[in-house]
Amino acid sequence: MAKNTFTAENFTKLDQVIQKYADKKGALIPVLNDAQKIFGCLPMEIQKKISEGLNIALAEIYGVVTFYSQFSLEPKGEYTIGVCLGTACYVKGAQKIIDRIKKEISIGVGETSPNGKFTLEATRCIGACGLAPVLTVNEDVYGRLVEGDVPGILEKY
């Protein structure tokens, strides 16, 4: 299982974030971004807290969360692998890369490994076409990949 991020400490952090942005215009997205970082996902209890704190209806918050792919309702793995399937990466063989990752960690796109370590995502163009094909693991970027690079990258985590 993924480690429990729903700790009292993290809820205090969320309160601080909400306080920082309360009464500011356009507060919702920054608060959701920070909350996603703190908890790894935005389930109902978290959205309810934000709704109360910012005085924004829950339906509106849920609408924003389900609109942007950077937000997730369910917990993600410790590491999110994003394989770019933009045109350049795709032409340069991104599908092979993604297939190899699926095989290595036995999960499909959009899924999280049972040990909570990895989540696999197929992304649109991330703007690093010069490095195609490219993948990211959290904030780390790996470019000019060939299929054989995959096990080595995964081993680092």
Binding site: M44, Q47, L58
Partner: protein, 593 residues
């Protein structure tokens, strides 16, 4: 006001600079079709039906949001415009559940009308359709996303007019739907069932829970004594179902129709409105004289009650303990009426015709019973009554006026009638409370300062040497504003009237649909309210306490206002409600929720 001159379809128009092209065209007598547009509520240019051609502009523009400018040259009826509008509606229809023949809004649908007006004869786009589930879990509102065209009228009504925000756009692209948070049922969201979303909906994506068949079954059952009551606002709206102008008072025809439908007894909820005034008025006097919780707030509007329970639980003790008038009526029918007429209350079925969708949920609240029997067994909206009359093939317009049944619960005063308009309950209460405090009969009973559609109305009156401060709010957005002022201590009142819908019951969520086009010109709140004040003015008795059958009800049965028996039958209690309460094992996130 600065003005600009422009040309629309070769007609020169001079209009204020702040106008949109749509407004300017209207000013010039040119009709531009709209679909998502709802004046003052939804002006977003989403549906692209109101497209026009502007000379020099790169593309066709949505006239509902595009401002006019000096020298503009506009075409509203070029080939390019007609084809674009048509294509846009065809695209909307390609993912629309086109079961028009069996649809709740058949012949009363803005999408259907626009398709007809644009001459659409086929849908050239054969595409995927979004899979949807009908949400009919609540007692009041059915949400059918297969009909939804994502215009946003309901979203902005709930979010910006009522300032509640139950509905919003969720997901993205083709998967977009209008739904409550977490795609929950309306029954599991803190929805107050005001039904303003239904009124705003141009199609049948939002509609009331249909209870017509249930009522037909009871009428057809010879063992059941079916008693119907009609709320004051119904008479001000029902005529619209049959093409009469907005605000036509159809009291007599409505009664005729109800008798023809086969109801055993036809009463006016106004009798119970008078009864409410007796109970609520004396409750107020009691609170003022005995240092009870003030301000006292009216409890006739079940939408407002739910709003209070979810959003302002700190005011629950301020709510009058009176049941709403139709619930009182039901309780009296199943006790006093049953006893006097020697009918087994178990065999009585009480139907309320209401301008309201929230009343459907109210009547199912567990508190609303008498000796284990429901006060009210079924609630139909004005629209549903209109449908029953059509199903029975009654020619409504040709009906002679008839009178409500007159025995036991038949009298009503003007005070009862005006309950249907914002300020009406307050005015009715003052007519009685003033006489009690002054200790004499008062001639002038028109409290005109508290009529009308201002968001919040306030007045200070001197009654029996005492100052009584009152306030009125209608629509939950105004209610919130008023309650916040009370909470902060900025304002102090003795008595507050709150209605869940703007305008009061005349513009409740169960009233006939009025198209967005008509709403550009008409304030329905004002027009329908006129019908009620008109009836009030022609009635001989205009004060609730002068209603002879109310006097008799107290003499023969209840004792006096707020008596033990009255409390048992006519009063209730409310409780704070949690918004989106936790459900066990609902969440897969690993948190405690």
């Amino acid at each position: 006001m600065e003005k600009v001159t422009l040309t629309i379809d070769n007609i020169n128009v001079e209009v204020p600079k702040s106008y949109t092209i749509l407004q300017a065209a209207k000013h010039a007598g040119i009709d531009i079709p709209t679909l998502c547009f709802l004046k003052d509520v939804n002006e977003v240019g989403a549906c692209r039906v109101c497209l026009v051609e502007i000379e020099g502009a790169r593309a066709l523009q949505a006239s509902c949001v595009h401002p006019v400018s000096e020298g503009m040259v506009i075409k509203t009826n070029s080939k390019k415009v007609r084809e674009a509008r048509k294509s846009n509606v065809e695209l909307i229809l390609s993912n629309h559940n086109r079961e028009c023949l069996t649809c709740d809004r058949n012949r009363n649908c803005e999408l259907q009308s626009i398709s007809e007006e644009l001459g659409i004869r086929e849908i050239p786009f054969e595409g995927e359709k979004i899979e949807t589930i009908i949400d009919d879990k609540s007692f009041s509102i059915v949400r059918d996303p297969s009909k939804c065209i994502l215009c946003g009228r309901c979203v902005n009504t709930c979010k910006n007019v009522q300032k509640i925000g139950i509905l919003d756009f969720v997901n993205r692209g083709f998967d977009t739907q209008v739904a409550p948070a977490f795609e929950k049922s309306m029954a599991d969201a803190p929805c107050i069932y005001c039904g303003q979303c239904i009124v705003a909906c141009p199609v049948a994506a939002l509609r009331e829970k249909d209870d017509v068949e249930k009522v037909w079954d009871m009428i057809d059952n010879p063992d059941i004594h079916v008693v119907v009551q009609t709320a004051p606002a119904v008479r001000a709206g029902l005529g619209e179902c049959f093409g009469l102008p907005i605000g036509t008072r159809v009291t007599g025809k409505m009664v005729s129709a109800l008798k023809r439908l086969g109801f055993d007894k036809v009463y006016d909820t106004n009798f119970a409105a008078d009864l409410t005034i007796m109970e609520e008025g004396h409750e107020l006097l009691g609170r003022i004289q005995n240092g009870g919780k003030l301000p006292m707030i009216t409890s006739c509007s079940p939408g407002w009650i739910r709003y209070c329970e979810f959003n302002y639980p700190e005011f629950i003790e301020n709510l009058s303990t009176c049941k709403s008038p139709h619930q009182m009526m039901g309780a009296i029918i199943k006790t006093y009426y049953a006893e006097k007429h020697n009918v087994d209350p178990k065999k009585i079925f009480v139907v309320s015709i209401m301008p309201c969708t929230s009343k459907k949920t109210e009547s199912s609240r567990s508190e609303m019973n008498v000796n284990g029997l429901r006060d009210v067994d079924a609630v139909l909206t004005t629209r549903e009554l209109g449908k029953m009359i059509k199903q029975a093939r009654i020619n409504f317009l040709e009906l002679e006026d008839d009178k409500f049944d007159e025995d036991l619960l038949g009298d009503y005063t003007g005070a009862g009638v005006i309950f249907g308009a914002t300020g009406g309950v307050m005015e009715a209460a003052l007519r009685t409370v003033a006489e009690v405090l002054e200790g004499k009969s008062i001639e002038n009973v028109d409290y005109k300062e508290i009529r009308g559609i201002a968001d919040i109305k306030e007045a200070s009156l001197t009654l029996g040497g005492k100052e009584v401060r009152i306030a009125i709010a209608h629509g939950t957005a105004s209610a919130a504003k008023l309650l916040d002022m009370v909470k902060s201590g900025e304002r102090e009142y003795h008595f507050i009237e709150i209605m869940g819908c703007s305008g009061g019951c005349v513009t409740g969520g169960g009233q006939p649909h009025v198209s967005a086009k008509i709403l550009m010109d008409v304030d329905v709140r004002v027009e329908r309210a006129k019908a009620l004040y008109e009836e009030d003015a022609i009635l001989e008795l205009r004060k609730s306490h002068e209603n002879p059958q109310i006097k008799k009800l107290y003499d023969d049965f209840l004792g006096k206002p707020n008596s033990h028996k009255a409390h048992e039958l006519l009063h209730t209690h409310y409780a704070a409600k949690e918004q989106f309460p936790k459900e066990k094992n609902e969440c897969s996130c690993g948190c405690d929720c």
